[in-house]
């Protein structure tokens, strides 16, 4: 209900700004990532790296998780902290070949903090 209300209020603004707000992680993946990384995240050999192992491997360490949100495609994506956290968690569930049961899911708070951190 809250989401529907916010959606109604923001609908006009979103149309003007072309914002990604309100889309599901799957649609955000299509709009922000899929054009290059392809439908299953495998990318294209020699041109676009696969996310199917790299995402989980980067997510294992503190430095990797910070590095991840500063990768060009992610840093420039028009996504809120909430939407990016949901998108990364969806990708780890859906477009992934690595074990992830031990991984801590991303949260909006974590994404915000890591976005504010400068890379060493």
């Amino acid at each position: 209900m809250k989401r529907a209300l916010a959606g109604g209020v923001l609908a006009g603004a979103a149309l003007v700004a072309g914002s990604a707000a309100g889309y599901s992680p799957e649609v955000n993946y299509a709009l922000q990532c899929r054009g290059c990384h392809s439908e299953n995240g495998a990318g294209e050999r020699g041109r676009v790296p696969s996310v199917r192992r790299a995402l989980a491997r980067l997510s294992r360490t503190e430095a990797g998780r910070t590095r991840l949100v500063h990768l060009p495609g992610i840093a420039q994506a028009d996504l809120s902290d909430e939407d990016l956290a949901a998108l990364l968690n969806w990708m780890l569930r859906t477009l992934n070949d690595e074990p992830v049961s031990h991984l801590k899911p991303y949260t909006a708070v974590e994404i915000g903090a890591r976005r504010a951190t400068r890379l060493p």
Partner: protein
């Protein structure tokens, strides 16, 4: 002239012209004048061969093709820029080039790297995710140029910009852009 209107502006102009002509004649030879003239003529004929001028000509051709495409105002006509799926297209319509809105014309191949956006289908009011895969392998089609660019961003925001040549890259190196398709890959809702 000088005798008739001595001291007037006209005679001053005459005198100035005479001085200029005589000094020019005493300083330059016929050969040097001819040489310069030939240089100018050759330069002028070579100018249209420069890539800048050719680019302008191609742009003019593109604008003519754009007018041709926009003349057909039909939301459900795949050969018209107004077709609802083309809301973010920037290129020649494959449907006008021997292919369709989802398939490449013979002799071209579809680039797997693509720009993706959303378009509202007025028929059911649903917003769909649309992938604008380019067809590569032959020179520009030149028919039905459309440039609608909904949700496109400027090149300094590269993540959502569509002004790239999506035929470039490793496996498609140096393969020219021919036309663009628009493939529905899902619902945005």
């Amino acid at each position: 002239m000088r005798r008739l209107r001595r001291g007037s502006t006209m005679s001053g102009l005459d005198g100035w012209t005479e001085t200029l002509t005589r000094s020019l004649a005493s300083r330059t030879s016929r050969r040097s004048v001819l040489g310069g003239l030939v240089g100018w003529l050759l330069g002028a004929t070579a100018l249209p061969l420069l890539p800048v001028v050719r680019g302008q000509a191609a742009e003019a051709q593109g604008q003519a093709a754009e007018a041709q495409g926009q003349a057909k105002e039909a939301v459900n006509d795949p050969t018209a820029c107004a077709y609802w799926r083309y809301c973010a297209i920037d290129g020649y319509l494959c449907a006008c080039c021997g292919g369709s809105q989802t398939t490449c014309p013979p002799g071209t191949s579809m680039s797997p790297i693509t720009w993706i956006g959303t378009c509202l289908n007025p028929a059911d009011g649903v917003r769909y995710v649309v992938s604008y895969n380019d067809c590569c392998g032959k020179s520009s089609c030149g028919r039905c140029y459309c440039n609608r660019n909904e949700d496109d961003t400027p090149l300094f925001q590269p993540g959502r910009a569509n002004d790239y040549n999506w035929c470039s890259g490793d496996s498609q190196a140096n393969i020219p852009y021919h036309c663009s398709t628009s493939r529905i890959v899902g619902s945005a809702e």
